[in-house]
């Protein structure tokens, strides 16, 4: 007690001292701030008189002028540089050299509910600077992270406005919400599509359990912390970034042409004992190239304008963004408008308040997602239009089933517009109760409205594509979410001891309301007609559903370091979530601990010159996952339209119970251990960071398929079903240097290895099957079994192809016909049945890597980013997903079995039926790829010109994204993101059924600072 009192007195004394200092004589100090490495001047550096709110900012030439007491100390701060303090000592000129903090442990990283010096971090936290994201001219902030961070795997879906699938250190959970948690300025999101990448100041990716633990409830899938740009003190700085580019399909799959298609359909018909459909396949020639007909080179335009600045008392940042992206499918377009405003006010020396508000409006002219299947399947013998201008009709060619569409019709008569309006933001107050004690309270909100409007007009195009009564469909999804946080932070230094203590409380609420209405016979002469009120009275339907979740939490953390050598971090979080109210353990508790040893700061290391930095760290933590749907243990009543019964013309509601729920559901918990080594060599020119981790998921919640004779509607039961483990290794090595010739460069390589393994399942030794659905003709194509990886592909192993009936007669497949797959009789019982299925590969990538390079020479800069994955498999469902006369790929045509001796690997055209379409090894291919993710060349105009033009900086650049992709996979892209149709589940991951085709983007752009 006495000690604290003394401390307190010292504090008050210091406080008085600073106030007294303000009365000392002021002098004017000028100077220039330069970069310690390349000697260039640094603009926008904050220059503050220590202990006051007096400040200035360097101009474009790095010059500053400030009025300060002759005995004051000036503090120079700039993001990415080590803060420097210089006593004025009556000097009127003080030139300062700042050193880049990336070469030093003084670098500050954003962690959960605060910041930490990099040196103090004992977990695995990766940071990416905003400029690395905005530089890529990427339309989505998350996809820009691809290949940047070891252990983070990102699969893009590719569709404009869609969110990529991101996995941090392997699949951590399989049920419900499997997305990582994005925390944007303290507000929680499941996806950050609405963010303008240019507004991002920095991104921190929390990878290990000890760093994640403070986000207990939602930490299981990893956490990405996004900090948006704030205003900096000084005159207004106006930035404009603009780019224009086009997107072009790469690695297109070549389909069979007209003659080849007709040949194969004839083979298909004769194999089933039918007459060939086409007398003379050769007359069809090349036929229609449906990919060429439907896909295009698409434009993308991006404009971003920001203004920021401030005074001693307040700062502001205002930005506007505009994105206009055409999809590579004709008619597809996505426009996004973003606006963000943040203000911070230092009301008193001890009280700071501020807010941050962002609005996003987007509009998408959607495409019918079945178009990807259609252009794959459509018969090339069908013309787009006949000579008379009417649509080519597959029925005129006897194709029909499975192929009963002209994709052009699908494009022309699909009219669906999705608009997304979102207002997010937060307000905060930060109060310095004592010098070392800060109280912060903040309230954040997220208000979203998603509007989708679909209109199906009256038309008659082909036999299978016509509509006699128009249909208007209107969807509204409203999100009303809020989060409140209160934290108390105590930070102090006692001699060689550094201590930071954090205590906090938070409450959150997530409410969603969905309403859908439809009406028929709505006229359409203009958009003004598209209201349900104009539809026929007896045809209107309405649906309304929603969800509500709440959570309340307490958390605390202690960071302690001694002499910057020995580090100890510990945290604890307690969460209560409404999902577990009455039917589970309401509270979940999540502790963590981490320790570090900065060896290079030891006295015995003083004289060595090898290491400029050496640190060993280890951590352990528990994380949780409440990402299950609301009320999972509450049995509810179903009343679908299918239960409505009409007796004598009157419709009666039908209700019953057709689901089953677990009586008890526990928190899904993760336990993770991480051991890391950070080393800097050669005066920090070479930096290496290596991590080894084990992440275990306990009580994993699954909706596992249950027997259908229980009679449930979806035959699934959720529960705590399994434990699994992700074990891995990550390495990051960065080399930065500057040659005598003036070339500045950095080369950074990262590598991640992850092994996913199921360590226990409720069903004992028996697998959990998944991946059925229509994609694999209803068969279960994946299993999750003890000792295997989550959702590994599962099916028959193909031994070859039956060449003739004699071979079939001797085989275990008496019903086969020549050209069918010959499966391996694993158990040798002479029968091919379910017992002969084996593991066929894993959709969970084992290796992921990236190589990121930057070169700057004089006014030129060059960036080359390469990225890839290996040790992963893809299930090519397109091959076997056939209902009839769908087209085949050229590759299939070239290699197919079509008579004895023609192939022992590819089957006949009968691939889609019977035993051939059952999940088997033919459909499983390697998903490894290597890609040039980003290639950018920039040129900054000479400074002399800038002075003349009264501008600070103009840089022009040319950029290419995904220009080169190398892979052996026979589909469009081995990068299987979220499916375009249906929902994503880790149990059916990596199944390729018409992913968005891979495309490259080429941009020309300009960065201007006024």
């Amino acid at each position: 007690m006495k000690r604290i009192f003394t401390k307190f007195s010292v504090l008050t004394f210091l406080c008085l001292l600073f106030i007294n200092a303000a009365f000392a004589q002021n002098i004017t100090v000028k100077g220039v701030v330069t970069d310690g490495q390349d000697k260039s001047t640094i603009p926008s550096v904050s220059v503050m008189v220590k202990g006051t709110t007096t400040g200035a900012q360097t101009d474009v030439a790095g010059r500053y002028t400030i009025s300060a007491p002759a005995n004051a100390t000036l503090v120079f701060t700039y993001v990415g540089y080590i803060t420097k303090e210089v006593p004025v000592n009556n000097q009127s000129t003080i030139n300062v050299v700042l050193n880049s903090s990336s070469q030093d442990l003084e670098q500050v990283v954003v962690v959960g509910y605060g910041t930490q010096r990099k040196i103090d971090v004992t977990g695995a936290v990766a940071t990416v600077k905003g400029e690395d994201i905005s530089k890529q001219a990427s339309t989505n902030p998350v996809s820009a992270l691809q290949g940047k961070v070891a252990g983070v795997s990102i699969s893009n879906n590719g569709a404009p406005g869609s969110a990529p699938q991101i996995t941090i250190r392997g699949t951590g959970t399989v049920y419900g919400n499997t997305s990582v948690l994005y925390v944007v300025d303290g507000v929680w999101f499941d996806d950050i599509n609405f963010l303008n990448p240019a507004d991002i100041e920095s991104i921190s990716i929390l990878k290990d359990a000890s760093s994640l633990s403070i986000y207990g409830i939602r930490a299981a899938n990893g956490v990405v912390l996004v900090t948006t740009s704030k205003g900096k003190k000084g005159d207004p700085v106006i930035n404009y970034n603009g780019s224009i580019g086009f997107q072009s399909v790469t690695n297109a799959v070549k389909m069979a042409n007209g003659t080849e298609f007709a040949t194969m359909i004839n083979e298909l018909s004769t194999s089933a004992g039918n007459a060939p459909l086409f007398k003379d396949p050769s007359i069809y020639g090349k036929g229609t190239d449906w990919y060429g007909q439907v896909l295009r080179n698409a434009m993308v335009t991006n404009h971003q304008l920001s203004i920021n600045g401030g005074t001693e008392k307040s700062s502001y940042n205002f930005s506007l963004g505009y994105l206009n992206q055409d999809g590579i499918v004709k008619n597809n377009n996505y426009k996004r408008y973003t606006a963000r405003l943040s203000n911070d006010f230092q009301l008193y020396k001890f009280l700071k308040i501020g807010y941050n508000v962002a609005g996003t409006a987007s509009k998408s002219n959607d495409i019918n997602n079945s178009i990807f299947h259609q252009i794959y399947a459509a018969g090339p013998i069908v013309p787009v239009y006949y000579a008379d201008g009417t649509y080519g009709d597959p029925n005129d060619f006897g194709l029909g089933g499975g192929n009963n569409f002209n994709p052009q019709v699908t494009l022309d008569f699909y009219n669906n517009v999705t608009k997304n309006y979102r207002l997010t933001g937060n307000v905060y107050a930060e109060l310095n109760i004592l010098k070392n004690l800060t109280f912060k309270t903040s309230a954040g909100g997220d208000f979203g409205q998603l509007e989708a409007r679909g209109y199906s007009p009256v038309y008659k195009a082909t036999q299978g594509q016509q509509n006699d009564i128009s249909l208007l469909n209107i969807d509204r999804t409203e999100d009303r979410n809020w989060i409140i946080e209160n934290t108390l932070t105590y930070k102090n230094t006692f001699g060689d001891h550094n201590l930071t203590v954090l205590a906090g409380q938070t409450a959150q609420r997530y409410k969603q309301n969905y309403i859908n209405g439809t009406a028929r016979n709505v006229p359409f002469s203009s958009e003004g007609d598209l209201y349900l009120a104009l539809g026929d009275a007896g045809t209107r339907t309405v649906t309304n559903t929603g969800s509500l979740r709440t959570a309340t939490s307490y958390f605390g953390r202690v960071n302690y370091s001694f002499k910057d050598r020995y580090l100890l971090n510990a945290s604890f979080r307690a969460d209560a979530a409404s999902q577990f109210y009455g039917g589970g353990e309401l509270w979940g508790y999540f502790p963590s601990i981490g320790a570090g040893w900065v060896i290079s700061n030891e006295p015995f290391m003083k004289d060595q010159t090898v290491f400029s930095n050496l640190k060993l760290r280890g951590s352990w933590g528990k994380i949780g996952n409440a990402g299950v749907p609301s009320n999972p243990t509450t049995l509810t009543v179903s009343q679908p339209g299918g239960y409505v019964i009409v007796f004598n013309g009157v419709a009666y509601t039908g209700k019953s119970i057709d689901t089953a729920v677990p009586t008890f559901l526990n928190w899904e918990r993760g336990v993770g251990t991480d051991i890391g080594l950070e080393a800097g060599f050669l005066n920090n020119r070479l930096n290496i960071e290596a991590d080894y981790y084990i992440k275990k998921t306990q009580n994993a919640i699954f909706g596992i398929p249950v027997r259908q004779d229980i009679g449930l509607k979806d035959s699934k039961l959720i529960g705590n079903q399994a434990d699994f483990e992700n074990k891995g290794f990550e390495l990051l090595a960065t080399w930065k240097d500057k040659t005598d010739g003036g070339l500045t460069y950095s080369i950074s390589g990262n590598f991640g290895y992850n092994k996913n393994k199921v360590t226990s399942v409720v069903t004992g030794l028996n697998p959990i099957y998944g991946g059925g659905d229509g994609l694999t003709n209803g068969a279960l194509a994946t299993r999750t079994v003890l000792g295997g990886s989550i959702g590994e592909f599962y099916g028959y192993k193909v031994a070859g192809v039956f060449q003739n009936t004699a071979e079939i007669a001797k085989s275990a497949q008496p019903n086969a016909i020549p050209g069918d797959f010959k499966y391996v009789d694993q158990n040798g019982d002479g029968v091919i049945d379910g017992k002969d299925r084996v593991s066929l590969g894993s959709p969970n990538p084992k290796f992921s890597y990236g190589l990121n390079t930057n070169f700057a020479y004089k006014n030129f800069d060059l960036t080359i980013d390469i990225q890839g994955v290996a040790g992963v498999d893809v299930y090519n469902a397109n091959l076997g997903l056939r209902y009839g006369n769908e087209n085949f790929t050229k590759d299939f045509y070239d290699h197919r079995w079509h008579g004895e001796g023609t192939s022992n690997t590819y089957p006949s055209t009968n691939i889609g039926s019977g035993a051939n379409s059952a999940p088997n090894s033919f459909f499983v291919e390697s998903g490894a790829y290597i890609r040039v993710r980003n290639l950018q060349l920039g040129y900054t105009l000479p400074k002399a010109l800038m002075g003349k033009w009264k501008m600070q900086r103009i840089r022009v650049f040319a950029n290419a994204q995904n220009p080169i992709n190398l892979f052996g996979y026979k589909g469009f892209s081995p990068e299987i993101g979220k499916p375009t149709v249906g929902t994503y589940s880790p149990l059916s991951r990596g199944i390729d059924a018409n992913v968005y085709p891979l495309y490259a983007t080429y941009n020309l752009g300009v960065n201007v600072t006024f």
Binding site: S269, F350, G400, N631, R707, G711, N766, G884, G914
Partner: protein, 495 residues
Amino acid sequence: MKIYKNINLKSISTVVLTGALLCTTSCKKSFLNVPPQAQQPSVTFWKTQDDATAAVNAIYGNLRSWANTAFPAIAIESMGGDDAEKGSSANDSSYMNSYDGFTVTSTEGQLQGFWQGQYQNINLCNQVLDNVPNISMDQNLKTRYLAEAKFVRAYSYFRLVRAFGDVPLRLTVPKDASAFNIPRTPKAQVWAAIEKDLADAEAVLPQTYPASDVGRATKGSALALHAKVAMYQKKWDQVLSLTNSVMTLGYSLVSDFEALFRLNNENSKESVFEIQCDYRPDIKDASNSQYAQVQGVRAQQGYWGFNVPTQALVNAFEAGDPRKDATILFVGTTTIQGDAITSVAGDPTMYNHKAYVPFNTPYDNNNPRGSQQNVRVLRYADVLLMNAEAANELGNSAQAISSLEVVRARARQGNAAILPKVTSTDQGVLRTAIYHERQVELAMEYDRYFDVIRQGRGTAVFGPKGWKAGKNEVWPIPQSEIDLSVGVLTQNPGY
């Protein structure tokens, strides 16, 4: 400094108080006690008569489902027969051919579709049978509701046992996951359970309903199904007495065989049980019967043209039998309703006339076309033929001839030149005649395939297309179910 102090204190108190306030509100248990949204919790269900009514409605509504009336039913109950084949275009859904040619393997999707569909019916029935007894409501109505549920449960188990042999017998809703994984019950026990349900139902169900309830299971429905169940077990005494009972209930045949299958003859005097289907564009999924859609004329938009008649069926009709044209819709003809039946290359040349819905019947693109068509499950003609067969098997040829003649007389429609009365009293000759009559009278009504197997003629009739005795009497149990049961469920021999 003074200001600092004042504001400091004030701010602290305000902010901390606000924080504390937020904390207390958020920490209240009520904040976390979130009721299900847009879903009725089951604890509030099974309380009132309305709940019982809604739960019984659900049973009838679900009978329209895809699994009950469309592909799975066609695959399991029709494709194996010699009267029907896949149809559509040659390569469309060619897996259907594996049922026609008996090459089907246990992973084929229609197996699990059919299996699941029937058990979904059974769950809805078991929900009613488990819970409605505890509801305080009109006692007569309650008893009737329970009987209706037993009828549909019996109907579903009948379809299952016919298709798969031994099947898991679930007569209550599983209380928890421990009751999920049960083995197959020997089919004798399943038959017994079906008969018990039907006996219970026929004792309670009324023979007629007021117009507002027409379409529900009647006493006649239960008796007729019971007769059919007995027939599959060759319990001829029972078949005879049950069908005799039905014949006293006032049913008669609709004079015009073609008209019998049109919309205006739904729930006719010949109807013993029908699945009620309708077209209601104002209610999502209430018009979800795809029975007519999947079998309709392909050249018409929205119709798929599966499950089409075979040449064998064409040949089976006696010369001049008007039922041929009323059963088979030939391309190139025009229907009585004025629809020209056309085709494009690759289309079938014949369609199931019994599933035909005149083209001018209202429809739209977002509902299956022809969703109005009721599915005729049991007809009085079927009852008469069962009666004839049972009587003949028991040596009562007079009654056999008389019941058979009622059916033939209707078909004849007064034209004495066709379909002569069967007069032979020879049991064998009569048996053949009755089998033949069933074939042509009930063609394309999902009856023929199992009928022939029941008659012990599988090899004789279906052998040429691959049917093998000792294996093809039943279909394979879906592989996914065996997988999930971890070996508790066993496969049928030969699969």
